[in-house]
């Protein structure tokens, strides 16, 4: 089968690889009908996530048709159409029982490695490094799905792929980013990053009752999409973000700030950008946390900083003084996707259409070009959906 493989920094290749099979009783094999490239795939592409190996199959946002199930999967059968959540979760450990699926205690066979890097291990993730399981991803014609009786959600009606595909990651991730803000009437929510996750976070914050949402980015076409989703927009190359937010909130600051950027933030002050880039390049600092620093500084006293952008390792110059003295709360996490799939599918059935983030449909063979285009923000590239067949 064809699969998009990580071949080193800034290099992916579509290769012929063996088809996956059933390894465990609770596995299913899915024939992938649609798969997407995620902003967090760029962290792999750029070489900032440790423990990648040449030849690893990428992709954690995919859906398709079940073609084979193990004897432990009673609720799915060949022919079922499913969307697969990106965190692999068993449904039976304490974390899963509490709905913290991305912290599943049983799905990462390389938990020992993750423990050494992070203290404790999170769940395994499709196509996202060996530290997070060494699972082949879904940018392929077929994918093996462990714990298939727990994760995948069946799509029984004729909703097209593009409306339900994002249940696999970015829609729930944006939703959780907004939910962690504990939105109350009158709240102003600021969102760093107007990529697809930030766009969904903005849309979710409004649906959860925010008075106003402010999206911050530097690409006008992305801000425009966030604007269409209902956000007020700030281009940080044109305005001073802290000043502008103080202005909008008459000095209070946003009640909650969402970091939908993560470890490769860009920063308009060249010296600070250069400092972090140099440290990151030398591997002294694994992550460039400008968005997070600014979100902390901007947040109102006693407010919430909600982090859904992906971080891989360590950050520098963390404004702990601001964070501590002003009674801020930080909430974080890889999305517990399984928790949100059903309620968000219901919203889609009621008319919410998440396909507004898609700018490009391409074939799986074109993945190398798609990665390049997405990374360099060419052709107003916002979200690419790949067809493997």
């Amino acid at each position: 089968m064809k699969a998009n493989c990580w071949m080193g920094r800034n290099k992916v290749e579509v290769l012929d690889v063996p088809e996956p099979g059933i390894l465990n009783p609770r596995d299913a094999v899915v024939r992938v009908t649609s798969t997407a490239i995620c902003g967090s795939d760029l962290h792999l592409y750029d070489g900032y996530i440790p423990t990648m190996r040449k030849g690893d199959v990428l992709g954690h946002e995919f859906m398709g048709e079940v073609v084979e199930v193990g004897p432990g999967v009673a609720n799915l059968r060949p022919g079922d159409r499913v969307v697969v959540p990106f965190p692999i979760a068993c449904g039976a450990c304490l974390a899963c029982e509490h709905g913290m699926y991305s912290l599943c205690e049983n799905s990462n066979p390389n938990a020992g490695l993750a423990e050494k890097m992070m203290g404790h291990s999170p769940a395994g993730i499709f196509g996202y490094s060996h530290m997070l399981g060494g699972y082949p991803g879904g940018q392929a014609q077929y994918a093996r799905v462990p714990f298939a009786d727990i994760g995948p959600i069946k799509i029984d009606d004729d909703l097209p792929d593009e409306k339900v595909l994002f249940l696999s990651d970015i829609l729930p991730t944006g939703w959780m980013g907004a939910e962690m803000c504990d939105i109350k009437p009158g709240d102003v929510i600021a969102v760093w990053g107007a990529g697809p996750v930030g766009q969904f976070a903005a849309a979710a914050a409004l649906q959860l009752g925010a008075e106003q949402v402010v999206s911050i980015d530097r690409f006008p076409y992305r801000l425009e999409i966030a604007g269409r989703a209902g956000a007020l927009t700030l281009n940080y190359e044109e305005v001073d973000v802290l000043d502008a937010l103080r202005d909008i909130t008459a000095g209070r600051g946003p009640d909650a700030c969402i970091d939908a950027v993560g470890m490769e933030a860009h920063y308009p002050v060249a010296a600070v950008q250069a400092y972090d880039r140099a440290k990151q390049a030398a591997r002294l600092e694994t992550d460039r946390p400008h968005a997070l620093r600014e979100a902390i500084m901007a947040c109102r006293n006693g407010g919430i900083v909600s982090v859904i952008g992906v971080y891989g390792g360590f950050v520098d110059k963390f404004p702990m003084g601001s964070f501590m003295n002003r009674s801020l709360t930080m909430r974080t996490g890889q999305c517990h996707v399984q928790r949100y799939m059903k309620p968000l599918l219901d919203r889609i059935r009621e008319g919410f259409d998440p396909s507004f983030v898609i700018t490009h449909h391409m074939r799986l063979e074109d993945a190398p070009r798609a990665f390049e285009m997405f990374k360099n923000k060419e052709h107003y590239c916002n979200k690419v959906v790949l067809s493997p067949w």
Binding site: V17, N110, L113
Partner: protein, 209 residues
């Protein structure tokens, strides 16, 4: 098989291990490891007490055959894939609380150990604590057992416990293309590609229920 990134990861892991990970390994050759299993204590004890279940989660153990009177015969895959065998006996058995054992015979495989089961607080399941003792490297007692556990003995016992938890909670051992055998310390540094592999394929089992 290892790549630059894997070497980097290995070094980082080693460096962090020195900082974060205290190997509690006493001069007498004792080690311990613990894990919490989200199942009732009786069920966890019963599973372990049926020693023939142990190969399902102990990476090195090929088979355990129990004989009447509390004895057992162990077949274990050692360094260089050599099969090593020994007999063992249960020395203490308190239902739902404790199982202790010791090996019989040759000094090279001499060791003893125990596993304790207690309720985790607040309904969090069962705490499982394993202790093992073998003398090395001064005396020759427990030499084979020491080699089985390699350079990171506690990590290997902890990986066994991780697989035990997986089997108890999910009914299977977590496998990926990168780690097709499930959690094993050495594999974490010498991963297969995260790409489906012919050799990892098992006979397809179609749904029949």
């Amino acid at each position: 098989m290892s790549t630059t990134i894997n070497r980097q990861a290995h070094r980082l892991a080693e460096a962090l291990e020195r900082g974060l990970h205290v190997v509690r390994f006493t001069p007498s050759g004792g080690l311990h490891a613990a894990i919490t299993v989200n199942r009732p204590r009786h069920e966890v004890y019963r599973f372990w007490r049926d020693l023939e279940n142990l190969p399902r989660f102990m990476a090195h153990v090929e088979s355990v055959v129990t004989v009447p009177g509390g004895g057992s015969h162990w077949r274990v895959r050692g360094p260089a894939n050599r099969i090593i065998e020994w007999d063992a006996e249960i020395t203490r058995d308190r239902e739902d609380e404790l199982i202790s054992w010791r090996s019989l015979g040759g000094a090279a495989t001499r060791h003893r150990g125990s596993v304790r089961f207690t309720d985790a607080p607040g309904g969090r399941g069962t705490e499982v604590r394993v202790e093992m003792e073998y003398r090395t490297p001064g005396g020759r007692a427990g030499l084979v057992v020491a080699r089985l556990f390699g350079e990171h003995p506690e990590q290997q016992v902890r990986d066994d416990l991780r697989r035990f938890k997986q089997v108890m909670e999910t009914g299977e051992v977590a496998r990926s293309a990168g780690s097709p055998e499930g959690p094993r310390a050495w594999r974490q540094f010498f991963q297969h590609k995260a790409q489906p592999a012919e050799h990892a394929r098992r006979p397809a089992q179609h749904a029949s229920r």
